[in-house]
């Protein structure tokens, strides 16, 4: 598929989102919160969200971790295996920006850098939503997915104000 009708694809998965969890070397905190989102208090199955075992089955990748050097090639392969449109929810401050490890020798520093590598390898990503948190709360994960599907509005925006005495 060369071009992807994103709006149509999003409409198609609105009631049934199958997610694949991809960990690129995170500390596990975001990962257990992903699991937590499945359990009774949060129960993401009520939105039709289901965790699947293979990127082939996935509509959306839940991406965690700062992308360690060792995991990089494997992460690229996993994302490539996902059918288009490739939707990615980047969870946690590590994934978003490399987090506390953003400049160490054995991580590449988050999804932004990974995107470059993906592009070099000819793997296109169709839509990315960043979900900061350390770790991300289950509710933040739900919010992120709903934002990606266009159900809720984005709350944050870039702000730069001039300091002033009130």
């Amino acid at each position: 598929m060369s071009s992807v009708n994103l709006a149509r694809a999003l409409r198609a998965i609105k009631r049934s989102v199958w997610v694949y969890h991809l960990n690129s070397g995170s500390c596990n905190a975001c990962d257990i919160e992903i699991l937590d989102a499945l359990t009774p208090y949060f129960d993401v199955e009520r939105f039709g969200i289901k965790l699947v075992g293979s990127p082939r089955h996935a509509d959306l990748i839940l991406f965690t971790g700062p992308v360690t050097r060792e995991s990089l090639p494997k992460v690229v392969r996993a994302i490539r295996a996902m059918p288009r449109p490739r939707l990615i929810l980047v969870l946690g401050s590590c994934g978003v920006s490399g987090g506390i490890w953003w400049d160490t020798y054995s991580t590449i520093g988050g999804f932004k850098k990974l995107e470059e590598v993906l592009r070099e390898n000819g793997v296109e990503v169709d839509r990315v939503v960043y979900v900061p948190g350390c770790p991300v709360r289950p509710e933040a994960i739900i919010y992120g997915i709903l934002l990606l599907l266009g159900v809720v509005e984005q709350k944050v925006k870039k702000v730069e104000v001039v300091a002033s005495e009130s």
């Binding site: 198609a12 009631r15 049934s16 009520r46 293979s54």
Partner: protein, 284 residues
């Protein structure tokens, strides 16, 4: 013919709804809300809207998946015939063909799985095969005996019991979901499928559950003398109830291991079937 097509269509529509109901009930036992009742339908519709990824083995492989689903639909329609005949000798032919077709469907699934170079898929295929040989022969015996006139109460009861157990096994629920056991095989036999093909496979899965529930309904109504529409109605009413009962049983148990499962099923079903043959022979 038209009648059969209508039956097939109704089943195809209903089975995913029942599956949605199953997920809802399971969620309730988990103390959570769970998905909408139509969730399985949403899943299938979505899968059909996705890109077709032809797995290794090419279109032949895809054909096997579709064929498997069609076989199951046919088997399911035949089962309805058997049921409307009220477990009568008249339906012996349909019942025999039904048994052959379920066997073919499982074989197709196994072939599809083991033809992959994916080890998980291959292992899943072998597990499916082990389960098949430990359940389907007994299913065949008990069903045929019930139809061909096991009149005596003891024989009838044992045959019904064997049928209930075997039917549960082919429903593919815990503890017998080992062919796709997620933890070790990551959806095993279906691992290589995606998009519409996975949708077809999902339909196969729910159809198997449908067949399983109908078979159980048959076993339970084998005492009644309902025929025709009345018998159909009874089966139609019982099917969702049995489906839910199956669900509850599934939630209470853990997954078995292939060697344990085969040993357990073989010993249990073998003993029961032997008793059945003896009682049938004695006419009690």
């Amino acid at each position: 013919m038209l009648h059969s097509l209508a039956v097939a269509a109704i089943q195809l529509v209903l089975a995913p709804v029942y599956d949605g109901l199953e997920r809802k009930v399971r969620a309730a036992i988990h103390t959570r809300i769970g998905p909408p009742v139509l969730q399985t339908w949403y899943d299938i519709v979505k899968l059909f809207s996705k890109e077709v990824v032809v797995p290794v083995g090419g279109s032949w492989y895809a054909l096997v998946a579709v064929l498997e689903m069609l076989t199951l639909v046919t088997a399911s329609v035949l089962l309805v015939h058997v049921s409307s005949a009220g477990l009568n000798r008249a339906a012996l032919f349909e019942a025999s063909v039904f048994i052959v077709l379920t066997g073919i469907a499982t074989t197709l699934a196994v072939v599809r799985a083991v033809s992959q170079s994916n080890v998980f898929s291959v292992l899943g295929g072998f597990r499916e095969f082990s389960l098949m040989i430990s359940a389907e022969p007994f299913l065949a015996t008990s069903l045929l005996l019930l139809i061909s006139g096991a009149e005596a109460p003891a024989s009838k009861a044992i045959a019904a019991l064997v049928l209930v157990i075997a039917a549960y096994v082919i429903s593919g629920r815990v503890p017998y979901d080992i062919a796709e056991a997620e933890p070790e095989l990551a959806s095993g036999v279906n691992i290589e499928l995606a998009g519409p093909l996975l949708g077809v496979a999902t339909l196969s899965v729910v159809l198997k559950k449908f067949i399983s529930a109908t078979l159980t309904a048959l076993a339970l109504t084998s005492w009644s003398s309902l025929v025709g529409i009345a018998s159909l109605a009874a089966a139609a009413l019982l099917t969702p109830i049995i489906w839910i009962a199956h669900t509850v049983v599934g939630t209470l148990l853990g997954r078995s291991r292939v060697d344990l499962a085969v040993r357990f099923l073989y010993t249990t079903l073998f003993i029961l079937s032997s008793m059945l043959l003896v009682s049938y022979g004695l006419g009690v």
